[in-house]
Symmetry: D2
Subunit: 393 residues, 4 copies
């Protein structure tokens, strides 16, 4: 048992959800282990006690700290002298709000999957609650952890692309091209169930990633959007394709396409940003390269680990150029950022400013604002719907 | 002089526009020469007699058949026993309608650049006029001449992609990212002048190519569109970016992006078609490859000249696989199609059905319907505007 | 008939070989037509009079100028006032020497396919004969006609790569992976018949292209080579795979791989050059791009038609960037070069120095030196064999 | 301190080398942590006690188990009831043999970096010693841990490529294009020092990776090789470029190029295998894709996580398709394989046969045979040198 374990300065960490067979919980754990700054010591992997026990054993948790109820977990851990400092929420969307509140109220920092909540109202409330709690709140938009995404952000900020005019974002997958939710596909089942996933389907599940990415890189606010959400697969209860046009505050225009019915697309998140002086292109499936093209110049293939990258990119780089890094490493960067912030708190100092690139509760809430606006616009036949980029500022 | 020339069965051919320094006229001529089925014997390269003479000499035309006025050319050539059988119109858009009418009325077949006319009304009239004349009318949407585009069309028709759900088309360039029309850039000047180019800028100049391509490949009609046209470059008089959403008759959805202010994009025409059973991707800058991905299968890279291509693709193929063909060859395919049709007429037989893939006046007019609808939608803040795919049927 | 034809300054041109069904003859004709500077007026398409007549008719040749014997053709054409000025030899390799001599002796310029001859001895003799004749002699290594190959050459010469250390060339195909020569595959039959093709198979047929390309771009002489030639397909009479190591005069090292039994390779000619200051990569199947990477810098994708290219590249460019050019256009560049040289002769002036990039008889002979050395080395188990880069200087 | 730590079934693990600033030690640790099956409890990070202490603290090791001498470490750990079960050797090459022997003799399993030893004689001795010890011995050729490399191996074995004819391997880098070893570049300094790295430079450092990869995938033995090793950078004491030709037992032919002076190449390991029925291509920098081309068929882009992959590939896959995995994950697969073998030993059962894909001491020794043969051949001007693929069978 872990009872006697001296954590040697590692962050005491718990997880809600992520039991056996869950995809994203395992990713969180690999990501957190990469740098050896966390130790998983508690969890609520399932509300079913049998399954919770089995998952806990597999994760080598002390049975005493394997819970079937997140409220109990929050309360008990908060009282233990060796209780968790951070909890990661990897349960289905409809649970995010309640679980997060329970831990925030217990004085425990939160890492939460996206989409942040099931509704925009919940998101609003969660921003308020987080602020009141004074706790840290990270949202796992993992694509913002790629070194070259951070470099892209710095390129835009440094003015290398000039004034941004056009933003093209897309995120295409094909795993929902059939009615797989009617088979025993657990992932598909909850992600297409409005009661668990929220009213938005594809637009929330992956559209929010594309939306966050374009804001993260450009730093620009969307003022208005016009959306067309479609349910292509017969019987599906949520959208599986989203086509959105964006108007930015500075006059730039953008398109965002998210689809889960696009054969041949696996995890095709791509961002292209065009400015008066140049452009950049990032494709998630090739995360170690970033294309930068100056106006009237030759396209340059920048690579992670190459020379001339920004401090934020270097900080997020683990391996020399040509040694591929991937999704787990990007995810791991978010856990590093959180660890930096947690440790700064422990020692009463300011965190590394670059650790603040970690998406926070406002970024998560803004994703819900996007989903909400897209749903409303689509219902109104694509009418332009206002967004307020400063809603929580 | 060419007086005594026995054409040996070649098609007697003339050109309006395309004098010294013109880009597209030279392309038409290379394309027509590839297969040696045309002989250029007359032209109206310029309304300026000095420039006309110089261009005529460069083209080795009989000075007698170098005209400064297309009306005279049409009349005189129609009367000569060795008069031209086909005229190609490569003058700015605002002249297309009048020039075409002059030659149609004179009993001469027409090949005309896109966009077909300056307005939809002209396009309507030209369809009527063409039908009344009984002459052939080809429109040079050259991208439909690529062998793999024709194969893509056959793939869709054969049902290999299943029912089409999503169509993504884009055509991005960067040559108008600055106000080059204010310099001595002749191409830029007339293409951004509403009086010469028509009210549509980018949407007409290249949007029509993307629109034709998606219709050519999918065979599907657009029922409604919603467009956002933008003028990014200060002082520009026409749109230089067009973002369009499409609704197809069968319920499919599409996005079309055309831009001339996208640094790093040279001639980035791309089409992606997603169906229930698979998808295809074609990129104009890599015209010798076509990606076909069956649902749940591995992407296949089909190549021009490879095995298993359709008869229409084979017919349009000149070289073995791995020996690149390009834009001139695709353009040349349209001239081949026209030659097949002209020769069939000569001999009173039906043309090769595959030669009818040559875009015709209705395809050209449909492009103008697209431009007109996009302009109207954009003026109305992106309202959905109806299109009638059967308008000229 | 063409009798009365005034050629209007076009070059009077003939062809030996290239009758119906021949691949490369048709390429020569398309290439020569592109710029309208040649007119095909005579030919010896076949020694069979029936086939010659049919081919002649298809090519719209005056029957009087359709020959079944190249010697007659050379003699008669030399005597006609309107006789051909240039002949292109597209017959199988074993005929190159005799045909070339006949036309050179008749005072007619020659364009000849590669490999130049069947043996090195013939190549030696042909250099001598060409020099004695005073006629022009072009060899169609078409890959040297690509604009970006010419730019690559200028990059090396300008020192942008520093001192060259390593050269990697390869040319892989798969069309001879089976014993297709035993079927009715005409191309395969003669190319694998030592009596017609020469003793070298793959090494001569495509190895010479790779060898020429690396010399053309680097300007460096190979001093020694070590080769392993293999016949993989049972029953084949010539090598179908060649693996060669190269030592250059300046101490650089290189590898050259040519294969016709490499499934998945269509026409995979690639050249990579690595120097102390940078590298370049060119792939024939993507001829509109050239990769340039400065040491410690980001790879740049240079494109044909882009800014900053050398005069030699610009001169060879027909279309704006993004409008693909291909093999016929590269081939056409060689015909342009020859036309420039012929016209300079006509007018008694020096040709455009850039037209001298056209590979000449010495380049052709050097290819035979390469074949000869590779055959000898391979016979001696890969022993180093000397080459003399200045043999004909 | 870790004293009270109950390892909960994790493998007790130590490391020799890999102190602060070392690249590969950190990779081993991330790789081992990914699956949480190891716990690092002892180390000899440096022979300098100050540096050892600092590194030990950073690694959170019990100071008692931070050693400055690997012999002491082996002896002490072997005696502790909670002593390490596995040691990883990440010190420079010249130490591998002695360190490995010390731990093998102490009854501790070994994971060792490549090249296995400094000389072939040492490699021979190490094979013998390992066998005598009965301990497990893994060699970290990490590229064999990529799922698609394992799939490639299964493709060859299943006969999908037919009989293999040609193998093309290359591994090109540019980090030694300058004399960086003369600066304070620690990695460069020892890798170019024959006393530490062995007599082979590039051929040993990265050539062995390419050599192992080609054998791993094809399962074929090299019978003879002919090599040209070059020192391009003035003052360098070992080769920085290796050009090798290979003859395989079945008559196949191959080329292997390894270079560390190739600008623009970061970690360019590539393998291409051509058989009578098809080919495959793998590029290490894009490890999530594998190209498979059947003869006369279209190239297929297989992706990690896609359908239809072999059990060995699936077993090595952590994430769904489109979520990039990289070098750490491949490396982690070797640690998984070792963990499977160690745990099977613990429980007295046979290991998962797929865990035996972990390269072992014979694979390591065979790499040294390759280095030795290449050095000898190069000294003899490229003479063919025999290799014995069954030397240790």
């Amino acid at each position: 048992m872990n009872e006697g374990l001296d954590l040697e300065g590692r962050i005491r960490w718990g997880m809600v959800g992520g039991g056996q067979g869950a995809f994203i919980g395992a990713v969180h754990r690999m990501a957190a282990r990469l740098d050896d700054r966390y130790l998983l010591v508690a969890g609520a992997p399932s509300s079913n006690s049998e399954r919770a026990r089995a998952s806990g054993a597999q994760l080598r948790l002390d049975p005493e700290r394997v819970y079937t109820d997140y409220r109990t977990m929050a309360r008990v851990e908060a009282q233990r002298p060796d209780g968790i400092e951070v909890v990661s929420i990897v349960a289905p969307n409809h649970l995010h709000y309640d679980v997060a509140c329970a831990f925030l109220d217990a004085g425990i920092h939160v890492v939460c999957d996206k989409p942040l909540t099931r509704t925009l109202a919940e998101a609003d409330a969660l921003v308020t609650r987080t602020r009141a709690s004074g706790q840290l709140f990270g949202v796992t938009y993992p694509y913002s952890g790629y070194p070259l995404v951070r470099h892209a952000r710095d390129l835009v900020r440094s003015g290398q692309l000039g004034e941004i005019r056009v933003v093209q974002a897309e995120y295409a997958q094909d795993w929902l091209a059939d009615a797989v939710e009617e088979t025993s596909h657990k992932q598909a089942a909850w992600r297409t169930d409005p009661a668990q996933a929220g009213e938005g389907g594809c637009v929330a599940d992956i559209g929010t990633h594309a939306f966050h990415l374009l804001g993260f890189v450009t730093g620009m606010n969307v003022d208005q959007l016009s959306a067309e959400l479609t349910r292509f697969v017969p019987g599906r209860r949520v959208d599986d394709d989203a086509q959105v046009r964006l108007r930015f505050a500075n006059g730039a225009r953008g398109m965002l396409w998210a689809s889960q019915v696009a054969p041949g697309c696996q995890n095709g998140l791509m961002l292209r940003v065009f400015g008066t002086e140049g452009s950049l292109t990032f494709q998630q499936e090739k995360p170690d390269e970033l294309w930068l093209t100056p106006l009237r110049g030759a396209p340059q293939r920048l690579t992670r680990g190459g020379l001339g990258l920004s401090p934020a990119a270097l900080r997020a780089t683990r391996l020399p150029a040509g040694h591929p890094e991937g999704f787990v490493e990007a995810f791991g960067q978010l856990y590093r950022d959180m660890a930096d912030q947690v440790e700064a708190r422990r020692h009463g100092r300011l965190p590394d400013p670059m650790s603040l690139l970690l998406p926070d509760v406002v970024d998560g809430a803004n994703g819900m604002q996007f989903v909400d606006a897209a749903l409303r616009s689509s219902r109104e036949d694509g009418a332009w719907v206002e967004m307020d980029g400063t809603r929580w500022r």
